[in-house]
């Protein structure tokens, strides 16, 4: 479990990003952390990973304070930044050097990823393409079996097939005791993968809810023409028509259009936000 208590973060004396944020993230969830550029996504996940320190307040991961970067904390968390770095080693050497740091590292699991990507253990990591590097690192992160996995913009730079492979890897390696945070501004890449959504804007949490909860309360549809304002909570024009969000009064389950929800929250926050509790009901994540 990750807990942020009264979390404040300032870049400088005059530049405040987060003030008094309280947030609880539960195991067994894949969180999609969405927000525009500069919304505070990277700052938030870096604070969780112990790479930045809160100005005031606390960030705890499974009861351990992130900023202390204790060994047990570091053995239980893997952070993949947007621009990933891999050392000047072969894949085999990389495993020999880094796997012993992680007590739950599963070599068979990692080998299966390498087979999937078609990367030979003798290959130099630096000779891999950007996408291959990223996949290799994500595979390593999953094989370490840390309880927390944080990915910052993981799909940036990946081609379409690679994005599919990435989603499958995360889903296949997911376990109920794991907590995955995927920060992205490419909301469509996270479709089908995430189980909970956190939407940030200017250091504020606009939405923190499980996908199921969102779909219980809202319906997403598309209309050929603009609907009356009283009938919808939000609608926008698109090439295919008028996608809209309305209150779910019939109990029907629709497809969650995260991009639409994201835009709706940024534009019409007052209408949507009161519909969600601050402590969302967390469903068990279903492996498909």
């Amino acid at each position: 479990m990750i807990q942020l208590n009264n979390f404040c973060y300032r870049y400088s004396r005059n530049q405040e990003l987060f003030r008094g944020l309280n947030l609880t993230l539960q195991s067994g969830q894949i969180y999609g952390l969405l927000g525009k550029n500069g919304a505070g996504k990277s700052t938030l996940i870096k604070n969780i990973g112990g790479l930045l320190f809160p100005t005031t307040g606390q960030v705890q991961v499974f009861g351990q304070e992130s900023r202390l970067r204790q060994v047990n904390f570091l053995k239980d968390i893997f952070f993949i930044p947007e621009e990933c770095y891999l050392p000047n080693l072969t894949v085999k050497e990389f495993i020999q050097v880094y796997a012993p740091f992680y007590p739950n590292f599963d070599l068979t699991q990692y080998q299966s990823y390498l087979d999937l990507f078609g990367i030979a253990p003798s290959r130099k990591l630096r000779s891999l393409s950007y996408g291959q590097k990223k996949k290799t690192l994500i595979g390593f992160a999953l094989a370490t079996n840390t309880r927390v996995l944080i990915l910052d913009e993981p799909t940036n730079g990946l081609d379409i097939p690679a994005k599919g492979i990435f989603r499958n890897m995360i889903k296949d390696a997911f376990k109920p005791d794991r907590l995955v945070i995927i920060s992205s501004h490419q909301v469509r890449d996270l479709d089908e993968l995430i189980s909970s959504l956190i939407i940030l804007d200017q250091g504020k949490v606009l939405l923190h809810a499980a996908k199921d909860e969102i779909l219980q309360r809202l319906i997403f549809g598309i209309s050929p023409a603009s609907l009356p304002e009283t009938a919808v909570l939000y609608q926008e024009k698109s090439p295919a028509g008028w996608p809209y969000i309305a209150k779910n009064t019939s109990g029907q389950k629709t497809y969650l259009d995260m991009e639409l929800l994201f835009n709706a929250l940024l534009e019409n926050n007052a209408a949507l936000q009161p519909m969600f509790t601050t402590n969302p009901k967390i469903p068990a994540y279903e492996l498909s």
């Binding site: 870096k46 790479l51 060994v71 952070f79 621009e83 000047n88």
Partner: protein, 252 residues
């Protein structure tokens, strides 16, 4: 301090940088050989203990550069994240860096230096009676031990500064040394009442001119030894400790 983690960190550094270290050793050998060639070719201009000079230039030059690479990861965000995320304590990461850049480097340097010095001696012994450098002659080893202080300062700089840490640290060091020189001269002048102090070395002694003669004032031998130990052992420990504190607070 977990010895397993420390060993893993040393293994990591050596594996990742093995090519660079091998090439660096060859370059160092070449540079030392070139320096010996220069001092031999222009031997009339380079009087005195040229081997000591070459030894110190090589030690502090290459040692400084080598030490600065210990935490070069902090120059890039992704690399810095990688280093900080390795499951080991800050103390273990600092200890690995000190063991490699302080102690292992010194041993490797001595090997490379004596290889070139041996060649230099071999070529010049018959004509000039050159003998290999004796580290224990005239207390030269004290200067060699000052490398640990230099190592502590460069390590601190590499954690403190993000970009161009080696250059910035050298600049700060230079400014501090200039300041210390003037401050020390001023302080010695006040304490001793001698107005014309020409130069001084903090924690060691000073020199002034009296009736056209240079007078050197040094600390008594036993106090000088304590001062030497303080500068070569206690001060490095202080700098290494500050580096550790800074590393713990490092953000990327």
């Amino acid at each position: 301090m977990n010895l397993v983690n420390l060993t893993l960190l040393l293994k990591r550094q050596l594996k990742e940088q093995s090519q660079l270290y091998l090439l660096g050793s060859l370059v160092l050998f070449g540079l030392l050989a070139t320096l010996f060639l220069i001092v031999h070719h222009w031997r009339d201009s380079f009087g005195g203990a040229v081997q000591n000079g070459v030894f110190l230039i090589g030690l502090f030059g290459s040692g400084g550069i080598f030490t600065a690479t210990m935490f070069q990861e902090f120059s890039e965000s992704a690399k810095g994240i990688w280093l900080l995320s390795i499951p080991a304590t800050a103390a273990e990461k600092i200890a690995a860096a000190i063991l490699l850049s302080g102690f292992a480097f010194l041993v490797a340097y001595l090997g490379i230096y004596y290889l070139t010095d041996g060649l230099y001696t071999l070529l010049t012994y018959q004509k000039y009676g050159t003998t290999p450098l004796n580290l224990f002659r005239n207390g030269f080893y004290w200067l060699v031990c000052a490398y640990f202080l230099f190592n502590g300062i460069i390590l601190l700089g590499s954690v403190y500064f993000t970009k161009l840490s080696f250059v910035k640290t050298l600049l700060v060091l230079l400014l501090v040394l200039v300041f210390l020189n003037y401050a020390n001269n001023f302080l010695m002048g006040i304490i001793s009442g001698i107005p014309n102090i020409n130069s001084s070395t903090p924690l060691s002694g000073f020199q002034f001119e009296h009736q056209g003669e240079n007078i050197y004032v040094n600390l008594p031998e036993n106090i000088d030894s304590i001062s030497n130990i303080f500068a070569r052992a206690v001060l490095p420990l202080i700098f290494w400790s500050i580096t550790w504190l800074r590393f713990r607070e490092k953000e990327v």
